[in-house]
C-alpha cells in the first residue's frame, strides 16, 4: 500500500460522501482518497470471509481495447493466452517488459468480438496507458473514466446479487455477463467467491445503496482488502511485483499457457525461457512468523546459519489465520515449505517458517 501518484490533489470516487457517511476513515492511495476502514479491519475482513463485503474500487482504471483483432495484438505485450479467451470470460495477465520484469498485473475480459476490457492498478495507470497506446497502434485504447468498479466479495455475495440484481450473476469463476450498461464478472481480490461490477459512474451510488441495504452486506475498506488478498496469497503490485521481478520468480507460471511459454514471443520471453529451464534466482513463498509480532515488507531474511535468504515483500496480521502472515522472495535452496528462516524486524530477529500459499484456501465458484 505504498503506491503514490505525483498528482497533488487526490481524486475522489463517486461514492466519497457515501463512505464518509458510513464512518469511513479516508486516506490517500495511488492518487485517490479512499476508505481504509469503516468499523475496523478485522471486523470487515471477517465479515467478508463469512458474509458479503462491499468494496469501492473505482480508483482502478478500466481500459477498453477496440479493433479488428485485439486479442492477437495484446499477446504482443503479455505472456498470457488472449486469443484463447472466449467471449464472456475473464483472465489474469501480466504486462511484461523487455527485461522480463512485470509492468503491471491486470484482468482482461472478452466483452464482445473486437472488444477487450482491461482493469489495471490505479498506481500503474500512468505507466500502463502510454505503454498500451504505443504497443497497440492498430487498436483504439480508451480509458473509461466514465466507469467505476464495485466489488462484492464473500460466501453470500452470489445470493445477494441474485436477489438484488436478478439476471446479473455470472455462473462460475471468471465468467462475465454484460447487461445493458453493466459488466459483472465472477472475480475478485479476496480469495472468496464474489463479483466485480463495472458500471457508469452515475449508477454506482444507486447500486451501492441497493447492495448495502441487504443485511448480508457491509462495507469493507482497503485495509481489509489487503489482509484478505495476503491470506489468499495474491500479489500486490509495488510490493510483490515490480519491473525487476519476473513471472517465473513470482510463481505466476500458471498465467502463461504452454503455447506462449514455448514460443517465448512476448517481452522478456528470453528470460522466462531461461528461468523455466534453469530455475529462477529466487522465488515467491509464504512465510509464517512465530509468535504474534507481524513481519512486514522490507524485512530482510537470513537462513538458520546466517546466509542471505531474501526479503519480505508483504506482511501483516491475518485475521482468519489469527496469526501474522507474510510473503517474500527467497533463493530456491530456502523455498521448501517448512524451511526455518529469520526475519530482521527493526533490529529484532523473528523466527519465520516458509509456508504453502495460500494461507486460506480459495472459495471460488468453479
Amino acid at each position: 500500500m505504498s503506491e503514490t501518484s505525483p498528482t497533488s490533489e487526490p481524486r475522489r470516487t463517486a461514492l466519497y460522501d457515501t463512505h464518509v457517511a458510513a464512518g469511513a476513515r479516508m486516506v490517500p492511495f495511488a492518487g485517490w482518497e479512499m476508505p481504509i476502514q469503516y468499523e475496523g479491519v478485522i471486523a470487515e475482513h471477517t465479515w467478508c470471509r463469512t458474509h458479503a463485503a462491499l468494496f469501492d474500487v473505482a480508483h482502478m482504471a478500466v481500459v477498453d481495447l477496440l479493433g479488428e483483432d485485439p486479442a492477437s495484438a495484446l499477446e504482443r505485450l503479455t505472456p498470457a493466452g488472449i486469443t484463447t479467451l472466449d467471449a464472456g470470460r475473464q483472465r489474469y495477465l501480466l504486462l511484461t517488459n523487455d527485461a522480463g520484469g512485470v509492468i503491471d498485473d491486470a484482468m482482461v475480459a472478452n466483452i464482445a468480438p473486437g472488444h477487450l476490457r482491461l482493469v489495471v492498478n490505479a498506481g500503474r495507470r500512468d505507466v500502463d496507458l502510454p505503454h498500451l497506446i504505443a504497443g497497440l497502434p492498430e487498436l483504439d485504447v480508451i480509458e473509461r473514466t466514465d466507469l467505476g468498479i464495485l466489488a462484492l466479495q464473500g460466501p453470500e455475495a452470489a445470493a445477494v446479487i441474485e436477489r438484488v440484481m436478478p439476471g446479473h450473476l455470472p455462473g462460475r469463476f471468471l465468467d462475465v455477463v454484460t447487461v445493458d450498461d453493466l459488466t459483472v464478472s465472477r472475480s475478485g481480490y479476496t480469495g472468496e467467491d464474489g463479483v466485480e461490477i463495472i458500471a457508469p459512474t452515475e449508477r454506482l451510488g444507486g447500486l451501492a445503496d441497493r447492495l448495502i441495504a441487504d443485511d448480508r452486506v457491509a462495507w469493507a475498506g482497503l485495509g481489509a482488502r489487503d489482509t484478505l488478498r495476503l491470506e489468499a496469497g495474491l500479489c500486490l503490485y509495488g510490493n510483490d511485483l515490480d519491473e525487476s521481478i519476473s513471472p517465473v520468480e513470482a510463481g505466476l507460471v500458471w498465467s502463461m499457457p504452454k503455447r506462449r511459454r514455448e514460443a517465448g514471443d512476448f517481452p522478456g520471453g528470453a528470460r522466462v525461457s531461461r528461468e523455466l529451464a534453469e530455475g529462477p534466482r529466487w522465488t515467491r513463498v509464504g512465510l509464517r512468523p512465530d509468535g504474534r509480532r507481524p513481519v512486514r515488507d522490507g524485512a530482510t531474511l537470513t537462513s538458520a546459519d546466517g546466509a542471505d535468504a531474501g526479503i519480505v515483500t508483504s506482511g501483516g496480521f491475518g485475521p482468519t489465520v489469527d496469526a501474522p502472515v507474510a510473503m517474500g522472495y527467497v533463493p530456491p535452496a530456502f523455498a521448501e515449505p517448512g524451511t526455518p528462516l529469520v526475519a530482521e524486524v527493526r533490529g529484532k530477529s523473528v523466527a519465520v517458517t516458509v509456508a504453502e500459499l495460500p494461507f486460506v484456501p480459495a472459495n471460488f465458484a468453479r
Binding site: V41, I42, R292
Partner: protein, 126 residues
C-alpha cells in the same frame, strides 16, 4: 471519545493512573481509535528502567507500528502479560484490561508535567 477525569495524560496519548509512588500506564481511547485493530504489543521487561519521553515498547495494528513513549521515568514493577495473547484489549478496554505496565516512579513531581483530562481533551480536539 472517553477521557476519564481521574487520569493524567501525555502528549504521546498515554494515560497514567497514580497510586502513591506507583503509576499504571496505558494508551488512551483516542490512541487506540487512531491505531485501529491492535494485533501485537511489545511489553517492557519487568525491572526495566524507563526514561520519560523515550520509547519503551511497540504497538502494532493491522495498519502500522507505533512506538510507546514513557510518560514518566521509573522502574517497571509489573507488566500486563495477558496482552501477549489478547492485544485487542487495548481497543476494547484501553483504560481497564488494556493497561500496559505499572511503574515505580523516580520523582513524583514529574507527574505535574502531565495533562489533566480537560487539557488532554483540548489536545485531542485541536
Amino acid at each position: 471519545m472517553d477521557i476519564p477525569a481521574d487520569l493524567r495524560f501525555s502528549t504521546d496519548h498515554e494515560w497514567v493512573r497514580v497510586e502513591g509512588t506507583r503509576v499504571t500506564i496505558g494508551i488512551t481511547d483516542y490512541a487506540q481509535d487512531a491505531l485501529g485493530d491492535v494485533v501485537f504489543v511489545e511489553l517492557p521487561e519487568q525491572g526495566a528502567n524507563l526514561s520519560a519521553g523515550e520509547g519503551f515498547g511497540e504497538v502494532e495494528s493491522t495498519k502500522s507500528v507505533s512506538d510507546l513513549f514513557a510518560p514518566v521515568s521509573g522502574t517497571v514493577v509489573e507488566v500486563n502479560a495477558d496482552l501477549a495473547d489478547t492485544p485487542e484489549k487495548l481497543n476494547s478496554d484501553p483504560y481497564g484490561e488494556g493497561w500496559i505496565c505499572v511503574v515505580e516512579i523516580a520523582d513524583a513531581s514529574a507527574l505535574e508535567s502531565l495533562m489533566d483530562a480537560e487539557a488532554y481533551s483540548a489536545l485531542t480536539e485541536s
